[in-house]
Structure formats: C-alpha cells, structure tokens
C-alpha cells in the first residue's frame, strides 16, 4: 500500500530525522504533540500537526487511540513509530494495522516473538547462534537462587519483556541477586506491565556489537555491517561507531550471516538490529534483537551511503530492497556522540531547563541530528537528548579527530551536558586504541569539574557580565527622593539591607 501521508508517532530528533527523509520523498508529514511540545522542533518541521494529550508520554505519544484519531483527522495513511514509545509494542502495531493504516515496522507477531527475550533466545539458538547460559524458567525467588548457583555468578537479571536497558541489573553474589529481584520486578512492572524476569550469565568486560539488518516483504534479507556501542551508561549507548575496531573481516562475515539467519527465522520484515556481546576471546553471543530504527543508525548510513528511513518506507510499501548483499558498500569509518543534557560528574543525572545558548558544530563530513533549538525548554518528562553529532573519516583516526574538533566547536548553555565528557573520551588512550568494553564508564576516569587552563577566560566573561549588569543598574533612576520623605517606599526597594 503506498504511503501518501505519514504520521510520526514520536518527538524530538528522531521525529525530525524521519521528516527530513519524507521531505526528500515528497511525502507530507504529520506531527503529533503533547501539551508541552506545542512549540517543539518536530511540530515546526511537520506539514500538519495534531495534539494528542498531556505531557506524560503515556497519556499522549503512547495512546494508540489518539494516534489513530490523529490519522483520521489529518488523512495520514501510515504511522512511523520512531524508536521508544510505541516502536516495539505489538498491541500498538496490531491496532494500527486493524485500523487500516500502514505500520512502518515489523508485524505484531514478530514484535511479540522478539520482544520476549526468552523466545528471542530460542529463535537465535534455533539457527545455531551461541546463546549465553541462563535461567529462562519462571521460578519463585528461592528456586531461582538455587539455579543461579548452578549457572554461576556474575549474572544479569533482566525483565523478560525488557528493552532499552530498562530494569537490567548486574549481580555478583547471591545476596546481590536476592536484593535485585524485587527491584528488577518492580521496574519491569512499571515499564513493561509484566513482572517476569530471567537470568543470563554475565560476561566480564564484553563489547556490544550490533548488526544492522533489513528485510523486505519478498523474502530478501541483508545486513549492513555492524556498529559498536560499547560506551554505555545504565546499559544505554552514549557513543557508537561503525565499523567496530574489534571486528575482523572474518568475524564481520560471521556476525552478518548470524544476524540475517536470526532475522529470517524471526520472520522479520523491516529495518532492525541484531545485537551481540563479544567476549574477551572475540566470540559472539546473542543478546537481543531490536525491531525498529535505532538511535545509532547514522553511523551505518555514513559507511554505506544509504538512508535507512527511506528503506523503512520502501519496505512498508512493499518495494524490494534496493541492494543485494554483495552490493552493500563499506566506506571508511563513522562515529556518533549523543549530546545529552546530563551531568557526567553526577552519575549522568539528567538536567532539564531552557537552552540558553546553542552553537552546533559545522564542517565537512559532519552530521547533526537534533530536535531542539535556542530557547527550547528541555522537559524532565522526556529523554534529555539534545543532538546526535556524527562524523565520517577515511579511517577511524580521521573520524575520531573530526569528532574531537566538532566537540570543541559545539557549545550548549543553560543545561549541564556531556560535551566536555565526550571530548575527554576521545582523548582517552583506551578509547583511541579501540580497546572498548561495556564497563568503560563504570569508574569515572574523566576529569571531574575542576580548575582548567581556561579559568581566567571563563571568569573574565562572568566578571564582564557582572560589570555590564552593574552599569545598567546604575543608569536606572534611584528612588532616593522618595526615600527621604516616605520610609515605606524604600522599604520595598530591592537594594535594601536589613541589619
């Protein structure tokens, strides 16, 4: 079914990203927005906009009935869920398809199969992909502790219906596990309405490698190489690159082959990612499959020259994949940093507030995917993502140097952010050498807020700002004449000191 008008059931940079491709393809776009997003960038970029409810995402962006109503009112005939929100929700997909709309994503049955981490592991195992030892049976806590002893610590405790790293916990002892179980279950119920958890053997210092796959409705399924997303905090990627410095051509072929077999076995159609952990000997283990566009897709687009959102729309409209496997290029190297309003010195706690200043980096082979603008209020209700900056180079070294330069240029005022942290990451020996693992941010090796070489400049600007403010204040007429006659008048005056 052709897509003549596309509704994007999302916000922020990914909604803007999808709209850019739609403009190229001359497909009109519909933005939906919550109460606090009336003036958001995605609303400003869309052709049509429709309100879907209050600020909390569950009462607006995640309300399938509102999304369908928005389609009816605006004449949209397809829904792109972006990532997060409804992207991997089989019920949402089902309702949208039943409403006669095109769902830009895999079928609800596929989402159900791969969302459930236990059935996903079974799919992976069925095509011969190594799966980490784990405990998949639903047991009571005591039985689980018994079984855990047999598998051996450390273990990962994960919600069965989990995604995006939510609820996951690493446990090193039985005591850890006992304490973690109720909390993981609580998080799982809160985020996924399901309290089932499972255990999986945890690797020591693994690397996170994910393979981009694409499959059309005609049975074609290919991969577009891997991305490495080992730089994580709270099991969420901050920085990704492609190709991975840890993957040899042989391993690349093997990972690609495994990913395509898993996607096929899952019945997957669309654009998605098969994720693996690489142990310290370089052996891949199946982690999970994400059945949606990912935040890191730009680096794959850099090295292959493709537009993955266009691929999604082509696939949803029943077209064949534009490339065969042997036609997929691999050019150079790309890296992406997610600029978040968060404080790396306070365990990456999110920061919200108004963007008082924004200077985006510019230059050759640099890409900026952003969904904000100067003056925009970052709401604590949504992810604190400000921009995704990616750079491309002929070599990894060149891509990294370009990113480092971009971060020096980028400035963000009004909110705490991780720009300086990324700059230090790119200067970090371990990172430069490509020796990554998912625990690289467990200990804060980066410089905390301190006195740096530009202190005098930093202070001079503030001092000058104070001077200008004082001069402005001095120019304002002082209410002195009133003071002498009426004490009450200057009692309310702001320059009043009480002893």
């Amino acid at each position: 079914m052709p897509v003549t008008k596309l509704l994007i059931a999302n916000r922020g940079e990914i909604a803007c990203r999808i709209m850019r491709t739609c403009r190229e393809l001359e497909i009109p776009t519909v933005a939906v927005y919550s109460d606090s997003d009336r003036a958001a960038m995605h609303v400003r970029l869309a052709i049509l906009s429709y309100p879907v409810g209050p600020t909390p995402a569950r009462e607006s962006y995640m309300r399938v009935d509102k999304i369908i109503e928005a389609c009816r009112k605006t004449g949209a005939d397809a829904v792109h869920p972006g990532y997060g929100f409804l992207a991997e929700d089989p019920d949402a997909a089902r309702q949208i398809i039943e409403a006669g709309l095109t769902w830009v994503g895999p079928a609800p049955e596929v989402l159900e199969r791969m969302n459930n981490k236990i059935t996903a592991r079974e799919v992976a195992a069925s095509v011969g992909c190594p799966v980490l030892p784990g405990i998949q049976e639903i047991l009571d806590d005591e039985a689980l502790l018994d079984e855990a002893r047999k598998v051996g610590y450390p273990l990962m405790v994960k919600p069965v219906l989990g995604r995006d790293g939510k609820g996951m916990r690493l446990v090193k002892t039985a005591g850890d596990l006992r304490r973690a179980l109720p909390r993981v279950k609580g998080d799982a119920i809160f985020s996924f309405w399901d309290e089932r958890v499972y255990l999986e053997k945890a690797l020591i210092h693994p690397r996170h490698i994910e393979v981009q796959v694409a499959a059309d409705q005609h049975g074609n399924c290919i991969h577009l190489w891997e991305r490495e997303g080992s730089v994580q905090r709270r099991f969420q990627q901050l920085c990704e690159e492609a190709p991975s410095p840890a993957v040899s051509p042989e391993l690349r072929a093997r990972l690609g082959d495994l990913a395509v077999r898993i996607a096929k076995a899952a019945g997957f159609v669309g654009v998605g990612t098969v994720e693996f952990l690489l142990d310290q000997d370089g052996n891949p283990w199946f982690l999970e499959m994400t059945c949606r566009i990912q935040g890191g897709h730009a680096v794959t687009e850099w090295i292959t020259g493709q537009d993955l959102v266009k691929w999604q729309l082509d696939i949803a409209q029943g077209r064949e994949l534009p490339l065969r496997q042997d036609q997929v290029p691999l050019w150079g190297h790309a890296i992406q940093c997610r600029i978040n309003a968060e404080d790396p010195d306070r365990e990456f706690a999110p920061s919200s507030g108004r963007i008082q200043y924004l200077r985006s980096p510019q230059g050759h082979n640099l890409r900026n995917d952003s969904g904000v603008y100067f003056g925009w209020d970052l709401s604590p209700f949504y992810a604190p993502l400000v921009a995704k900056i990616s750079t491309w180079g002929q070599t990894r070294q060149e891509a990294l140097a370009r990113m480092h330069s971009a971060l020096m240029e980028m400035r963000l005022g009004g909110v705490r952010n991780n720009i300086a942290f990324f700059r230090q990451l790119l200067e970090h020996k371990q990172f430069i050498s490509g020796d990554l693992h998912t625990g690289i941010l467990d200990h804060a090796w980066w410089k905390q807020k301190a006195v740096g070489p530009n202190l005098k400049f930093a202070v001079a600007a503030a001092l000058f700002d104070e001077l200008e403010m004082e001069e402005r204040r001095a120019q304002q007429p002082t209410p002195r004449s009133d003071c002498a006659t009426s004490p009450a008048a200057w009692k309310s005056h702001s320059k009043f000191n009480r002893f």
Binding site: R359, E409, A460, F464, D465, K495, F496, R498, F499
Partner: protein, 178 residues
C-alpha cells in the same frame, strides 16, 4: 568593580575596570588587559594575551542572593563558580559580629550618611524595630533594635556623615516583664 571569586576551594580577589574603552581584569593583584566583546546573547569572545577564547556564561541560581553563581563554558568544558561583591561580604561579616556582640551601642558598620532617624531619646522599641537608615555605598541600610529596648541616647542627627564604627544610638535593654 570588585568581586571575590570562589571556585572549588580556591578564592581569588578580582577587579574589573573599563576606562576609555580599555578593559582590565586584576587577578589577585596581577593585571590582565582584556579585549572582550559580547557576540551573542550570553556569549562573549575574549582575546587575552593574544589567545582567543569564546565563553558562554550561564547564571545559576544560588540560595544566597549575594553569591552570584555562574557556569562558564569554553571549548575545554564548563567552570562553575561564584562571584561575590566583597563589600557585601564585609557587611555580612560585620552583621554577624554585631549580632554576636549583643552590645547596647549601635555603631555604623560602614561609612555613610544618616538618611533618616526613626527614633528619639526615651522611646521604647521592640525587637527588630527600625532605628535609623544609613546610606552607604549607594545602599540604604536599615539598623534595627536587637532586643526590646529603650533608646537611651541618640548620638547622630539626620544628614550627618559618619565614619565607620561611629556611635549612632545607645540602647538600654528592657527587662522581661515577667
């Protein structure tokens, strides 16, 4: 204009002056000529000693209104610090001293002019009641009774210019009626 900088555990006395278009920052006694220009809202371009650095200045709220909080961002990261008017710091210290001393003699904490005398000799005043207004450093400072008292002696008159520590009013503490 003078300011006291506090960053981490470091304190620096600063002064900035602007004369005939020249801006000079004094950093613990050492002078640094600044070529500084505001380029965008809250953003400055500075050339100091030939080096050009762009600084973005965010004011951040501080619980103490006399401590002006800043987050300044340069290409190498964010610096968080406070600037304080040293006169206000002196005032705060003096205020603390006067509260501690519990003395009956109210003295001028700064040189200034008596703008308004609000009590006369023999009058009884309640705790916190205003006694006089001293204008000092372009600020009107209200002096209040530390406890319920009787005004024993007024040493000044309206319009008088006072030195620091000048005697202004002598109070007699009233006994509790109990």
């Amino acid at each position: 204009m003078k300011r006291t900088l506090v960053i981490a555990d470091q304190t620096v006395e600063l002064e900035i002056t602007r004369r005939r278009g020249k801006t000079v920052m004094t950093w613990d006694g050492e002078e640094f000529p600044l070529d500084i220009t505001k380029v965008e809202k809250s953003s400055y371009s500075i050339i100091m000693d030939g080096r050009s650095v762009g600084v973005n200045v965010d004011r951040i709220r501080n619980a103490d209104p006399d401590l002006h909080g800043f987050r300044s961002t340069t290409y190498d990261g964010a610096y968080e610090f406070t600037l304080q008017d040293p006169r206000k710091k002196l005032l705060a210290a003096a205020m603390a001293r006067s509260k501690r001393s519990e003395g009956n003699l109210v003295r001028a904490l700064m040189p200034g002019k008596v703008l308004k005398l609000l009590v006369h000799e023999g009058e009884t005043v309640e705790e916190g009641q205003a006694l006089l207004i001293l204008e000092a450093m372009k600020m009107q400072n209200e002096y209040t009774a530390p406890t319920a008292s009787r005004v024993a002696k007024v040493h000044v008159e309206e319009g008088a210019n006072l030195e620091i520590n000048a005697q202004m009013i002598t109070l007699e503490k009233l006994e509790d009626p109990a």
